[in-house]
Amino acid sequence: MAKQQLISLESDSRILAAAERLMMTRREYLQFCAALAATLGLPQGADAAVAEAVATKRRPSVIWLHFQECTGCTESMLRSEHPTLEKLILDVISLDYHETLFAAAGHQVEAARKTAMQENKGKYILVVEGSIPTKDGGIYCKIGGKTAIELLKECAADAAAVIAIGSCASWGGMPSTGPNPTGASSVAEVLGKPVVTIPGCPPNPYNFLSTVVHFLTFGALPAVDHLGRPKFAYSRLIHENCERRAHFDAGRFAMEFGDEGHRKGHCLYKLGCKGPETYANCSVIMFGDAGAGTWPVACGHPCIGCTEQGIGFAKPIHAMAKMKNIEPSVFLPRIVEEKGLGASLGAAAVLAAVAGAAAGAGVMVTKNLGLSHQAEEMEKAKKEGSKATESTEV
């Protein structure tokens, strides 16, 4: 990892050029890069590496495929309010194929995709949005006469990295919920190998962007968990960092929408919040870029667990979450709680000394009891004797 100081880039013309290109001030640009590095959980110094990489490295070619989805991932990405983010997305990466954003259509677009794949063979990033229908030979989603399965396999063959964005591409998402008429499947299932997944409905744009910038800066994708989710974003439960967590710990719950507890911002667990079983960083970096209080739980709606397979779109919103974090509180007492600390060695020694002294004293006293009686007797006898002598003298 490049051990650079951000300060060393202060007067770097490349940085200034990059900032201008992104329509930011130099300061805004550096702050943005530092924020990205922080989101990734990178150590100090990485912010400079990120800034330099974004400014100088050749923009990676990105091919963006859409399958069974609502385009919500793309839409949320474009509507991010962080300084001209859409500009940055289009400038940090070279978006060579994107069905929603392309002005061109038909054969022209397909030709562009083919050209980009040819030119950047083995170097481009493939981003997949939407699930892939597998039933009946995959006929339920076709683009340019090709099924989603064919298209995905063709594009993935020469890609440097495959990123599944959104819950649909990550684990099937909403299209895969029962009865799943199209046999909607995830990218990993279709390709038969693990890919990086950025689940969420939609996912936080920064989680995607940070992953791409990580690739750009270090030439490798960030560390992921067993489900292919980048660890920097999906290693903690929403519940763990939730702003309403204190209310949960203190047992203050909103009982129904609009009641006193709900208006006071109490915990939404009882309304079906899936925060305790959903791994995502929404509670940390929020959502929608409009400042604090702009993610679902802060707005007063329980988390629906959109990032988690088997929870989002599968479990009813009102259904209670399973407490995945029950590492039960250390404050909970045991069934039988030991009280006190037992006797320390010093205390035991002092006690033994006192007891010994008392016993010794007792023994001595008992011994002396007889002696003193004898002594008294002798004294008496002596006195009487002396009296007798006195009387005789007198």
Partner: protein, 340 residues
């Protein structure tokens, strides 16, 4: 002065009277009392409990109890056991790695610790005055501080260790759960059940709660079932009866059936308790003692009432003791000791 003859005569008479008294007194042997039919109670289901302690906080609030600190930083109410200021507490069974909830090995489980509201309470039996009273209708074991003489017999008598004395106060009282009876007239039921987010603590008539507990035990573990929260309405409850209580009537939700032990704790223990418990972990391991169907109050009251019936037995014993004492007394030598 009593002659030896007179004394022996008296002894004989007393003994006979005592013997005569003992025979009918055994007929006053008391059976274990049973729950009143309209008795109120709670159903605690350990498999539903998530250990959030909402009930502990709510209990403190409605009973106006101060927090108790055991941690270094005095931030949270962290009592280690029920006390004069803590009437309700969630305790935790821990074993090994504590990986699985409701597992006996390498698992953990929660258990609510609060008054069981016994059908035949030992504390009421032990109370020498009328400070501990069982309500004949609701069956709530209530405490009257004005009648209490502070002897703390109830503290020693309870098999669950529930009544606790406020040792920190010079005018201490006994502290224990009274099922929020002070809130009943305003239509509020037990605060612990009211705030429980998962329905692990449920308020209702014990009869209905027992039926609900048995319904859960009959289900297959892992299946989905509907579980009520807050208050369990009585079977065939009329709307005017339901209107007596505040709060949403139906708060039920779907949940997976726990891996229950086939035992409703409190169904028969000591003649039954009005607070019932379900658990997946052995009850003795989660701090609920193994108790016979016959209450200790019935046993002790039978013995005591037999012995002290009409105070005849004590008189007879006193007479016997007096006789033995007199017989052993050596008469003082009247003549003074020959001195010098």
């Amino acid at each position: 002065m009593t002659t030896r003859r007179n004394f022996l005569r008296g002894c004989l008479a007393g003994g006979a009277a005592a013997a005569a008294a003992v025979v009918p007194e055994t007929a006053c042997a008391r059976d274990t009392l049973q729950r009143p039919p309209e008795g109120l109670g709670l159903l605690y289901d350990a498999t539903l409990c998530v250990g959030c302690q909402a009930c502990v906080a709510a209990c403190k609030q409605v009973n106006e109890n101060p927090p108790e600190f055991t941690a270094m930083e005095k931030l949270w109410d962290t009592p280690l056991d029920t006390s004069g200021h803590t009437f309700n507490l969630i305790k935790m069974y821990r074993n090994g790695t504590m990986e699985t909830k409701d597992a006996e090995q390498n698992g953990f489980s929660f258990m609510k610790t609060s008054c069981m509201h016994c059908a035949d309470p030992s504390c009421v039996s032990a109370c020498p005055v009328t400070a501990m009273i069982k309500d004949p209708v609701t069956g709530v074991v209530a405490y009257d501080a004005d009648a209490c003489i502070g002897c703390r017999y109830c503290v020693a008598a309870c098999p669950f260790g529930i009544p606790k004395y406020q040792y920190d106060s010079p005018t201490g009282k006994i502290g224990k759960c009274e099922l929020c009876r002070h809130r009943h007239e305003d239509g509020f039921y037990s605060a612990c059940a009211e705030v429980c987010p998962t329905g692990a603590t449920l308020f209702g008539r014990t009869e209905d709660l027992l039926a609900e507990a048995k319904r859960r035990l009959a289900l297959k573990a892992g299946d989905w079932t509907n579980v009520p929260r807050g208050r369990l309405p009585a079977k065939g409850e009329k709307p005017e009866d339901a209107a007596k209580w505040k709060g949403l009537l139906d708060q039920s939700y779907e949940v997976r059936v726990g891996n229950y032990l086939q035992h409703v704790y409190g169904e028969t223990e000591y003649g039954g308790t009005q607070v019932l418990k379900l658990s997946a972990v052995n009850f003795e391991k989660v701090g609920m003692p193994n108790l016979p169907p016959k209450s200790s109050a019935a046993t002790s009251e039978t013995i005591q009432h037999t012995l002290y019936g009409g105070l005849i037995m004590p008189i007879a014993v006193l007479a016997g003791l007096t006789f033995v004492a007199r017989r052993n007394v050596v008469a003082d030598d009247e003549t003074p000791k020959g001195g010098k």
